[in-house]
Amino acid sequence: MLVIVNFNFQNKLVSSVKATFLTLLIFFITGCADKKSYLSEIPDIEFFTIKPISAFDISKVEVFDAQDWPFVKDTSNYFSSIGDIKLVTKNKIWISDPISGVVAEYDSTGKKIRIILDSGRGPNEVEKPSSIIKTNNSYNQFYHIYDVGQKTLIKIDTSGLEHSRFNSSLLGINGLENKIILKENNRILTSSLLYPEYSLIELDSVGNFSKGIVKKIIPDGFQPMTHNNIIFEFSRTNKKLVYAYSGIPIIFINDQKNQIGIDLEPKKQLSEINTLLKKLPQNKQITVKKLIKNILIDETNNQLIVSYLNDILFIDLEKNKIYLYSFFNRNKEKIKFHTFKKVGDKIFLINFFTGNIKCISLSALKKSNNT
């Protein structure tokens, strides 16, 4: 009797262990399958080696000396929005304002000097100016202003005089910021939802489609379409393309040697941080969060600068090192920003909602690393 009881007990124990093991196995498999299914929906991901951010040596740095950029306090300088900021000369800064429809020039103290391009549709006029792109030829320095309102690229010289313009229906729209990169022979890289199949496309020098670069995640005719929005940067020097679907926490780096993806949220499912990639009918109202806000390539220091949520990551691929910066004001409140710009030796954190611009010098950041 005792033996039978013992046998039953052993049986129950074995069953219990089996059940627990099975449950854990199912949980594990389900978890993996979910994660895998999310990654497997990203086009061409099989060509990339995906590394979790935890594979890097990460230093977290808190910065407390972010300053207000002076001119935001000057009420005569009110502007409605910021599309781009460019350092034209040491004492000349251009800022595009897509909502007011102007490009204005400021000095380094934040004093408004003049309007470069005023609102309108004529020569030296713009509707919704966004990117300011520096271009050089052998003799002169020019800037192209991307007018997202007219889908037009306007070429101006450093004095602000317009030289030429052309429009293309394929130039993309991505909110207040609309990055355009001019490659060699004035070929254009633009993130556009308007071309079938591809999110990042290359146009020729007059705006005709040349080739697709990055495929769409969500096919045309389905929602959530804005998961197709691409944040990108291209280095002409070493032909390096760095991009991300702005709602997906993975940075893709494609150069002539390697194709690497960095997963910024390796332990999270997409459902925890953003709208899923599930295809829905076109008339379904749905929203997508922008997780990756901006990507820059710092060729001088051979690193990537990426803003993810309200942090900025400096990624050194050769040293396998990431500095993750969080910024705080003097009251130790975290600074919340929608994008950042690198202007000379400074990083500008821009909040479109409040109009606030914080300014941090890169040398101060380097100093923070050493402390």
Partner: protein
């Protein structure tokens, strides 16, 4: 900037009272008050919303057509 902030404040009030603002060609609107940033194109409206907490959202809605009710904003922006 002031007028935009005023409009944003109105949207804050709208969201706090659980009304659903609508999307149309002028922006995300409630009772005629609109905020940016909405662009119409061949497919309909592309909109971009910049929230106070530093998050931003984007969406696209098909043209609802004349006489049809405007699309609703369904995002999670906590203003």
């Amino acid at each position: 900037m002031k007028s935009i902030l005023k409009r944003l404040f109105i949207l804050v009030a709208v969201l706090n009272f659980s009304f659903i603002p609508s999307l149309n060609a002028e922006g995300i609107c409630y009772n005629g008050d609109c905020m940016y940033y909405v662009i119409t194109d061949d497919f309909g409206y592309s909109w971009f919303l910049y929230c106070e907490d530093g998050t931003s959202e984007s969406g696209r809605t098909a043209n609802t057509g004349p006489g049809e009710p405007p699309a609703e904003y369904v995002g999670n922006c906590e203003l």
